[in-house]
Symmetry: C2
Subunit: 437 residues, 2 copies
């Protein structure tokens, strides 16, 4: 008997992270890490799919409402039919013309699309009892490209070229998978350098991270140039000359400002500079990248779709492509981004942090290495040590590496207790805060 989707439920969960300035940066001084959660129920009571999109507080309710708006495209769909053409499934949702008008393919409707689409991929992987990365790695190249919408990117990467690229990487897949299972996927840590931390906290956090085996460190910059220099100096002192230092400006600079500030920070031997300016500014990033070469420019966490990814790569605007599988329209578009980056031979270093993002990126990076890029050179995936305790499946880090998950699915199912406790606005955590204020 076929398994069908029965219902789509949505939840609003928010964590009051702004209390401790965790996650603070030059653009986002007081984030409350939040998730708009999509839960897809099926006719099989034991089979439920979980997806989420990440926000930083206010407006999470908009993503929750947008998740609900996609329900009409899910209910009564047969899982076998969805799986047989994952691209057609994606286009049905992304192509809902009335919802598409609100983007198109960007903003709240696209964030919500990611949650819904990823919940369905979670379902499909759980159904065959594979972790998502393994489900992806085991797909035939034909099925992988079928999942991608090549509309508006085929001028640069056609379906045929994408298929060739995957076929060319068939050799060695088994060895690369075995290597990842043995060694894990290399990660870097962001939690040491949030902008709100004072100098002693910064030093303490650096030392703790070194003790935990981390080799790549990223700190926030962009609020005040003098302070950026001071903080880079502290971190470089702590981590020594051989560990890698990256800085993240979170979009605050103008193009010319960015070039000036990056030149000023060059003495600290930056491995990359992240989000130097508006995430929409392909041409601006291209100018910055050219001006500060060989310092590498990274961006992509706010890049909303494959058309923007295509242009960042075409224009040689990024040296490191950071993708976010909750901002792109879910795994279908993550695959498109990974294939585009492999085509241009630009390393993909997915964006994580927040709540639930680390849980996603381990799957994406594994797929990238085993099936698309075949390389670990200059590749490293973000990690932040926040809020993992709220998920049923726990991430496992060892010596600065993600250990590949073994449990079925995507791994973003919240603990029922966390869903209830941090429910917004009526869960006990938020009710208590309202009473106290």
């Amino acid at each position: 008997m076929s398994t069908r989707i029965r219902a789509l439920r949505a939840h609003d969960v928010r964590f009051p992270t702004s209390d401790g300035l965790h996650g603070s940066d030059a653009m986002n001084p007081d984030p409350d890490y939040s998730a708009a959660v999509a839960i897809v129920e099926t006719t099989d009571p034991a089979l439920t799919g979980h997806g989420l999109t990440f926000t930083i507080g206010r407006g999470n309710e908009l993503c929750v409402a947008a998740i609900r708006a996609y329900e009409r495209h899910l209910v009564d769909r047969d899982l076998d039919e969805i799986e047989a053409d994952l691209g057609a499934f994606w286009r049905t949702l992304a192509g809902d013309s009335q919802l598409r008008w609100l983007g198109p393919e960007k903003g709240v409707v696209h964030l919500a699309l990611a949650a819904v689409v990823n919940a369905v991929w979670d379902l499909l992987a759980r159904r065959v009892k594979k972790p998502l990365w393994k489900y992806l790695v085991d797909l035939e190249p034909e099925a992988v490209v079928r999942a991608v919408d090549f509309r508006h990117i085929s001028d640069v990467l056609s379906r045929e070229a994408a298929l060739e690229l995957l076929e060319a990487k068939r050799d060695g897949k088994g060895a690369r998978e075995a290597q990842l299972l043995r060694e894990g996927y290399p990660a870097y840590v962001t939690s040491a350098g949030w902008l709100g931390y004072d100098e002693p906290t910064l030093r303490t956090r650096c030392r703790a991270a070194i003790a935990d085996g981390w080799t790549h460190f990223k700190i926030k910059v962009g609020a005040d140039p003098e302070d950026d220099v001071r903080r880079c100096r502290i971190v470089r002192e702590e981590i020594g000359p051989t560990r890698k230092l990256m800085v993240d400006a979170n979009q605050v600079w103008n193009v010319d400002e960015a070039i000036g500030h990056i030149e000023r920070l060059a003495e600290f031997d930056l491995w990359w500079v992240e989000e130097p300016t508006s995430p929409d500014d392909v041409l601006g990033h291209a100018r910055i990248a050219k001006a500060v070469h060989p310092i590498r420019i990274a961006t992509g966490e706010h890049c909303q779709n494959r058309v923007m990814i295509k242009q960042l790569l075409q224009a040689e605007a990024v040296d490191v492509l950071q993708i976010d599988g909750c901002r792109l329209g879910g795994i279908n578009e993550v695959i498109a981004a990974i294939l585009l980056a492999a085509h241009f031979d630009v390393p993909v270093c997915p964006h994580a942090g927040g709540v639930g993002l680390c849980e996603h990126v381990q799957h994406f990076s594994a797929f990238d290495y085993v099936c698309a890029s075949g390389s670990l050179e200059d590749r490293i995936t973000e990690y932040a040590d926040h809020l993992h305790e709220h998920f049923v499946q726990r991430i496992e880090m060892r010596d600065g590496h993600y250990r590949l998950p073994a449990a079925p699915g995507l791994g973003v199912e919240f603990e029922a207790a966390s869903l209830a406790e941090f429910a917004y606005p009526d869960g006990p955590v938020w009710s208590a805060r309202r009473s106290a204020s």
Copy 2:
């Protein structure tokens, strides 16, 4: 005594336009023209501001909810203080870091921002009893540039350069204003050529439009190449060789497809080709524009912010810039777009149609001509003859020209009866449809 904002109300209004295939195109087969309405109440019971953003149905509730999310930034604000620094006001709303995360500066939160921001401009113009275009035209150049956020565009247009540009156009302002009051602003009509219309309807509508004095005609293409040729031939037959014909593909083509299809339609002497591909594809538009020159490429109605406008102009990707003051973040960003276009000497031909958009564009085009571009060459503003009867102030068209409005404000206040009748989901029109189905 100062006038303060007291409350922000939001309404969901939808018109069942999909019944008659009005507004149908290759990307949007069945739009229900809708508005998310922002109404700003003040401590002066006689002074209320009205703004809206346009959507095509499902998801309008998301924009309504997003409007409400901005209320915290409005309540208790003094109108004099807002008016003294309209840029600071805009940045407070656009820069709400938690809401900004959901864009940034795009999608639902930016659509809603437009409604809210425009409602406040409406307030300010009403307070001095001027139509918005006149309020804008009478602002000192210093005040105009103060309203603009130059962040992320100053590499191309600085505040100082924008000020110079406005100062240089000071001469002749009075004469241009008098000319517009006398002659109106030239318009073109879209209503003749919706994709859902059959051949007799197309011919009848063309003849009626010619009889009404229209000289520029735009039709929808992009569903089927053979049909596009057939429909262009019909319209060209009806309008003769001297009237202008534009076609609108509503984003459906890939870059290479667009070039091929446009070359195929070249025999019909196209004045412009609109939205040939993804609105995010700056580099794609640049390639198309170069390939099909001298046929002109128009885009911008889905262009979300000044950073994208900047790049379209930098890359020579557009010959005609269509702006939408409900998709850009309201009048502040419309001014930025108009200044950027004037800097690059590219004509601005604002996007209208839908519900309430024509009401906006007459103000923008008047400001552009009087203060920024100083030219009417190759400039023409969109008009569609739908749904104007629902507004308190009625647009006046004569001989294919917008007559500049004389009533105070922006002119997008809905009739109370229309707000009630078409309220979604519980107004009588929608209740009756649910009962009937």
